[in-house]
Structures are given as structure tokens and as C-alpha cells.
Assembly symmetry: C2
Homo-oligomer: 280 residues x 2
């Protein structure tokens, strides 16, 4: 399988605000990304709340940025009826926010095991039940929901959907209006990745997230690498999603307490842009 | 699926010497495990080398311990022809050692990407090429080879075979004399685990390793938990391997720099025994 053609401009670059969250709030990120000529942004809900939804929507529109996703809905499995009610309410607010921001999708981090539980199959069932309820509202709001399979090292505490195969099985049972966010960090190791991307097709491929897997990885959560600094063959994976019909943004999402969160955020944005032309 | 019946004695307990490696060398582990009434042992090759192979074989036999595995062969993918030759030689010595110790299997940690490589498919091909060469010698020596699918967080640097499905695909292409070591730590998250265990069947299920996945996990390598302290439903998984015909040992393997390696090793062994009667 030949790799994708080189990227020659930044028109498909989006930056997830997690990448600069230690340095910039949402208002600063909007300004900073737009100032550098970045085309897309994917904000986190805590930052949206801090800025205020209406103000954030206005600023993003004035800056001319496309919202490639809102992070995040999900965290579905519940330990009590009260928790279930709160989870559904919170996800309804997430759908509203994504609609207000005209987001291309609401990213779903589906959640892990409820506290004290070892019932993985039960958690899987809760994920599907919650999705079946919320999908009706997401469709009505015109917000595509994107299941993001997370790396299996997060199965217990963040997401019990860890492969494209599982995510797409859920999508097929759920019907229209739901797809997947492919983050190379989470799925690069999977022998089924190419075939499952093909299976997903253009309709289910809602987002493509990029960063890199560092060797060694010093922290399970906050040691993701900048594209090119790790072992993921990003052009190969980009070629696979493009061959399946994906023509959307490339969203950079880097959690890096040990490195990138300590740097000048303008420099981080510049390096994201540079790397897109050389190693993505 | 109902869980396995409770364990009522220690006759199937084996301890992997990694569990006490910070406290005991191999000679001490042999004495300590036998003194406590443990039936099986799984030694690491660096410890065998330190004690001397002949001496280790004699001590294990005199102690009446079953060698449930030798850790480890593998680390197959090579970066140069010289590295390939050395890798094959080292694996041939591992097969000899396993034969000398009358081990039930040689555990294969297949290796990750060669330094500087991003070619995952290439690494997969190297794993299969090396196995096809070495399997002939392992069969001749009467040593079953057991591919241990490692958790995907080790795909880059320890093992690029990360699921039962992939391991069994390799086994089927390789033929007889090779199977899998199922370690709950590495595979508990996999939605295909039950069906792949069934697919493996008695013939390919060569070892069953137990420990637990802690929440939070503070280190990618050295923070495994004692059975019962984490989120893995071990009786459920034991039920699956037993339903598939497995009637071998339950091998405890805990890498725990942060906890169990700091404790009195006699206490660690005693707790392994106790937990087998209550949470395994």
C-alpha cells in the first residue's frame, strides 16, 4: 500500500485545544491559532464553559475557524440511577454546545468501568444503551457523534471501546448519525486497522487525530509526542483514511505535561504546521 | 456465561520468578516457593544464567517443582543481519534451556519495532519468519513455544503481537508445536477474548498467567497488581480457558517496583496462595 501524497499546505490543519491547554485558555487559543493561519479548532468543554458558550461561538466564527469537533461527550457507564440521569443530562448539554458551535462532530470518550465494578460486558452494554438514547437527540440537533476508540491502556478508567472493530460494530447497531474519530495514537498498533478503516468508509470516518507514540512513553496519559518524534507511520495511516474517502481535517491533539505544555504556545502551533508538511 | 468453580487447593499454583525478582535470586526462589508448598515455577533466563543451567535444573527437580514456562524467547525483529544471527542463536539457547528444565513451554515475547523503524507490518513479517525457523528446532527438542500477546502499550518496544486473534493467526500459519500464553493483564480489555480463547482450544492454550490491572496504573511496566487488587474479573477469564479445555497451572507474574518488590518475599508467596482461593 503506497502512502498518501505529501501535504503541501495547511488548509486541513486543526488543533485540539488540549495541545496548548497549559498555556492558553480558549479565547487565547482562538486568537493564537487564527493568527498563525490555522484553519480548524477542537475545543474542550471545560474551556468552553470558562469562556461562555455564546462568546466562544462568536469568537470562533469571527476568527474564521472550523470547529472539527467538541471534546467531549461520553463517560457513559453509571454506578447508580442518579449517576445515569446526570450522565444523560450532561451529554445533552454537550450536544447543544456542539450544535451551537457548528461542530463537525461531538467526540465520544465512552467511559470505562463504574467505580468498584469488574463487569466489562456490563459497561459495554451501558455504552450502547446511552448511545441509543442520545443519538436521537444528536440527530435532531444535526450533530454527528464520533466514537473515539481509545488505547486499551484506558479501558478501565476512560473508554471501554478500544478498537475500530468494536466502535464500528456499535455504529452499525446504532444506525445513522454516528461514526468514529480515528486517533493514530490509540489505534496505530492494531493489525486490523487498515481493514476496519476501509469498513468504516467515508460515512463513518468523522475525524482524523494526529500526534505520535514516543519510545519510551513515560506516562500513560500525559506523554504524547509531536508528529515525527515517535514510531507511528502517520503518512501510511493518512493514506488509509484517504483511500476510504476521508477528506476532512487533520486534528493535532497532544497531551504533554513533560514537554509541549512547557513551551511557548506560538512555537507549538508553528511546529504543528511545519510537521504537517514533513512527517504527516 | 457462569464463572469457573472456586479453587479449593494450591495444586495448580505456579509463580513466575519475576514476582520476587527484587528480593530473591533463582536458588532462593526455588527454596522459597517449595517451602511454602507452591507446585510450579517459571524462571527467567537471566536468573537461570546466574545460577547455572545444570544447577538450576537439579535444584528445581529436587524441590519437586513443575516448570510451567521459561521466560523468555522472542525479541525477533532485527535491524541488521548481524542482529538477526544473534537473535536466532539466542533463541536456540532458550530452546535448549527450556528442554533441559523440562519446561511446559518457552514463552515468546516477540519483540517490537527495530530501533528507528516505523514499519509495523515489516516487524510482523520478521516475527513470523523467525518463528518458522525456530519452530523446527523447538519441535525437535520437544519444547512447545507459547506466543504471549502483550498489551498494546508494549507494541513499539516489547511485542508487536497484541491480541489473541493475531497470535492465533500466526499459530495457524505455523502449524503444530506452537500456541499461546494467556496473561490476563495483557488481554482482559479485548472484546474478542472469549471467542479467541474458544478458538485456541486445549491444544493452543499453553499457559495461563494471572495478576491484576490497577486503577490508576502509575507505570507502564512495573505497576502490575496482585490478584484481587484491580479490575480484572479473573474467575470469568479462568472459566473461559477452562471451558476451552485448559487444565494447567495458574502462573502468577507480577512486576511491581512500587509495591510487591518491596515486601518480604515469603509474605508475597503466602498472599499469592491466599488470593488463589478467594479471587482467582
Amino acid at each position: 500500500m503506497s502512502k498518501a501524497r505529501p501535504i503541501t499546505d495547511h488548509s486541513r490543519l486543526s488543533i485540539n485545544t488540549a495541545t496548548t491547554r497549559a498555556q492558553w485558555g480558549l479565547a487565547e487559543a482562538i486568537d493564537g491559532y487564527a493568527r498563525a493561519g490555522v484553519s480548524g479548532i477542537s475545543p474542550w468543554r471545560d474551556q468552553i464553559a470558562e469562556m461562555g458558550l455564546a462568546k466562544a461561538a462568536r469568537a470562533i466564527e469571527e476568527a474564521g475557524l472550523t470547529v472539527t469537533g467538541v471534546c467531549r461527550g461520553g463517560m457513559f457507564p453509571w454506578g447508580s440511577e442518579q449517576a445515569r440521569i446526570e450522565m444523560l443530562d450532561d451529554n445533552r448539554r454537550a450536544i447543544e454546545e456542539a450544535a451551537t458551535l457548528k461542530a463537525q462532530c461531538l467526540v465520544l470518550v465512552v467511559g470505562g468501568l463504574p467505580a468498584g465494578s469488574k463487569d466489562l460486558a456490563g459497561a459495554h452494554a451501558m455504552v450502547e444503551e446511552a448511545i441509543s438514547i442520545l443519538l436521537l437527540e444528536a440527530r435532531a440537533a444535526g450533530v454527528p457523534m464520533a466514537i473515539e476508540p481509545l488505547h486499551p491502556m484506558y479501558a478501565a478508567d476512560r473508554a471501554c471501546v478500544n478498537t475500530m472493530r468494536h466502535a464500528l460494530d456499535i455504529c452499525e447497531r446504532a444506525g445513522e448519525g454516528i461514526g468514529v474519530a480515528v486517533d493514530v495514537y490509540h489505534v496505530w498498533w492494531d493489525t486490523e486497522l487498515q481493514s476496519q478503516i476501509r469498513r468504516a468508509g467515508r460515512e463513518r470516518l468523522l475525524a482524523f487525530h494526529i500526534c505520535d507514540w514516543l519510545v519510551p512513553t513515560r506516562d500513560l496519559l500525559l506523554d504524547r509526542g509531536m508528529m515525527g518524534d515517535g514510531v507511528i507511520d502517520i503518512p501510511l495511516l493518512r493514506g488509509w483514511v484517504e483511500a476510504a474517502g476521508y477528506d476532512g481535517f487533520h486534528e493535532v491533539e497532544i497531551f504533554s505535561e513533560l514537554d509541549w505544555w512547557k513551551r511557548d504556545p506560538d512555537e507549538v502551533v508553528k511546529i504543528c504546521q511545519d510537521r504537517c508538511l514533513t512527517v504527516v
